[in-house]
């Protein structure tokens, strides 16, 4: 905790933490498949196009980010 000691814990909010914004922006950026060549569905992995699998994994990481950030950046 910063500053002088207080009886109540300092209210920490996500908006004040640059790391929250950086990770958030990065996840949104990665969740859109601009980094794959256009109009392609190959290679396929387990019956699904690779790009679909990658976007799904990014979304899952994003979900974990939401849970973790609520606890880390908001106290």
């Amino acid at each position: 905790m910063e500053g002088e000691p207080r009886v109540r814990r300092e209210y920490r909010e996500p908006a004040k933490n640059p790391l929250f914004w950086i990770l958030w922006a990065l996840l949104i950026l990665l969740s859109v498949p601009w980094y794959f060549p256009p109009k392609t569905y190959e290679p396929m992995v387990g019956g699904l196009p690779l790009w679909v699998v990658v976007i799904m994994i990014v979304s899952m990481v994003y979900a974990v980010f939401v849970t973790v950030s609520a606890y880390v950046f908001w106290r």
């Binding site: 909010e13 679909v52 979900a63 939401v66 849970t67």
Partner: protein, 479 residues
């Protein structure tokens, strides 16, 4: 409905404040499930899966924009909950009045009325989207015996009866149970589809032959831009529904809402991905449906799979019941939120001493009128549910500066917010009406919002008054 009846008997939530106080006493599991059920119901189960049927995996923007709603909600909640708890605020309008409390008279009234217009617009479209979805569901499930038009009218009247008879009470708990049922029913449907029509890994390669564009990466920069624009549109719009803001404001303290994030992101993602897979599998099994015809894809799949065996029949029935009740409760929640919020303002202006009982009585009448107002729109929907979703949020997000921006920037003032909303709405409307619903993939409403924010900041800066800034700072900065 049983829960509604029980709460009615037990007189839970007999007043407006009581109702939201009741949710204040509910734990994080109920709050989380209830928020989940409010964001996912008939419109997404029917309409969004249909969008996946038409555009394929390009609709993978869906899980992203649904999860993106949560961090934006966190940004709002982390500031709004402490304020609402200390000032006993229950609605977004309460907050706006409190935030710009240094203003009085016509300027504040105009800000409130205009904010209400956007808030009500978004919530009202969310209401009638449910009716459209139920029209399609009913028509297909009844094998055309009850046509779409008939089902829509029955649904709207059903909502009125449900809410007037006491659906008001215990809505949060009912929503929570529907949410759970929906998720189970949905996963069951997906399992049923893969058993009867082939697994996903068999169906997707089939699409490579029929229509490869459905499984390919986006073909143009415009599609990519539209993907980003949709995330922005929905992430910023969905937390602004009146009933969602009321739910957040009703949390006991930030930690109740925070705990909901232990599981809601995974529910959101699981639901969105399942709906995409259902839509895409639909494109492989029942190809060739036209745009409006494809809106019926999910019930069509359920109906085709259901007759195969009793288990499938049971699952199909469970799914239909779950979607129906979830849709009913979302429709009821939205319509109640609209009528209560609007009426409180009307009473405040014209009959400030009205009792809560009077407010409730009049709200039932107004509620019925608002619900009936939806009938002419939904009888001939003119657009897909997805298109209505875009239009809904393009209007709703114009209220963002009044709520989100004003929570973080103390020097944002009423004049700025008002100018922003007016200019933003004019830009969005002009673009849309002149045929530019998107510009290079970016939604007219998102362009409107950018102009809105810029105008809000400039006007606020120019008309800045020191005492207003310190007033706002005292309110919004948490201690």
């Amino acid at each position: 409905m049983l829960i509604g009846y029980y709460s009615y008997k037990k007189r839970v939530g007999a007043t407006v404040y009581d109702f939201f106080l009741a949710s204040r006493l509910l734990g994080y599991v109920v709050l989380g499930l209830s928020l989940y059920a409010a964001q996912y119901s008939g419109n997404s189960f029917i309409g969004y899966a249909a969008r996946a049927y038409r555009s394929g995996f390009v609709f993978l923007m869906y899980p992203t924009f649904m999860i993106s709603i949560l961090p934006v909600t966190v940004l709002i909640a982390s500031r709004l909950i402490p304020i609402s708890t200390s000032k006993r605020l229950t609605s977004p309008v309460d907050y706006i009045r409190s935030r710009f409390g240094y203003e009085s008279g016509r300027l504040l009234d105009t800000v409130i009325v205009l904010s209400l217009v956007f808030l009500v617009w978004g919530t009202f479209v969310q209401f009638f989207e449910q009716a459209i979805a139920m029209g399609y569901l009913g028509e297909v499930i009844s094998a055309g015996m009850f046509p779409y038009m008939y089902m829509v009218v029955v649904f709207v009247i059903g909502v009125i009866v449900f809410t007037v008879l006491g659906g008001f009470r215990g809505a949060a708990l009912a929503n929570a149970i529907m949410g759970t049922m929906m998720l189970i029913g949905l996963l069951g449907t997906l399992a049923m589809i893969s058993r009867d029509f082939g697994s996903i890994s068999e169906l997707v390669p089939k699409l490579a032959q029929i229509k490869p564009s459905l499984i390919s990466t986006p073909s143009t920069v415009t599609t990519i831009a539209n993907w980003f624009s949709t995330i922005v549109l929905i992430a910023l719009g969905a937390p602004l529904y009146i009933h969602i803001l009321q739910h957040i404001m009703a949390s006991k303290d930030p930690s109740t809402y925070k705990r909901t994030l232990l599981f809601t992101p995974y529910f959101y993602i699981l639901t969105a991905m399942s709906l995409i897979l259902i839509g895409v599998c639909g494109a492989a099994t029942i190809p060739g449906l036209g745009t409006m015809e494809s809106e019926r894809i999910v019930p069509l799949l359920v109906v085709q799979a259901a007759p195969k065996d009793p288990l499938a029949k049971g699952l199909g029935l469970l799914w239909v019941l779950a979607v129906l009740s979830a849709t009913l409760s979302t429709a009821a929640t939205t319509i109640i939120a609209i009528s209560v919020t609007v009426l409180r303002e009307v009473f405040r202006a014209f009959k400030p001493k009205a009792t809560e009982r009077e407010v409730l009585l009049v709200s039932r009448i107004v509620l019925s009128l608002i619900a009936l107002l939806a009938i002419p729109i939904v009888i001939e929907p003119r657009a897909t549910i997805w298109r209505w979703t875009e239009i809904k949020f393009e209007g709703l997000i114009q209220v963002l500066p009044a709520i989100l921006l004003s929570l973080y920037v103390p020097w944002v003032n009423a004049k700025g917010v008002l100018s922003g909303m007016i200019i933003g709405a004019i830009v969005a409307l002009t673009l849309s009406l002149s045929g530019y619903t998107t510009v290079q993939g970016i939604h007219a409403g998102v362009i409107g919002l950018i102009v809105n924010i810029v105008a809000c900041l400039i006007v606020s800066r120019v008309t800045l008054k020191e005492h207003e800034v310190s007033y706002a700072r005292n309110l919004i900065i948490p201690t």
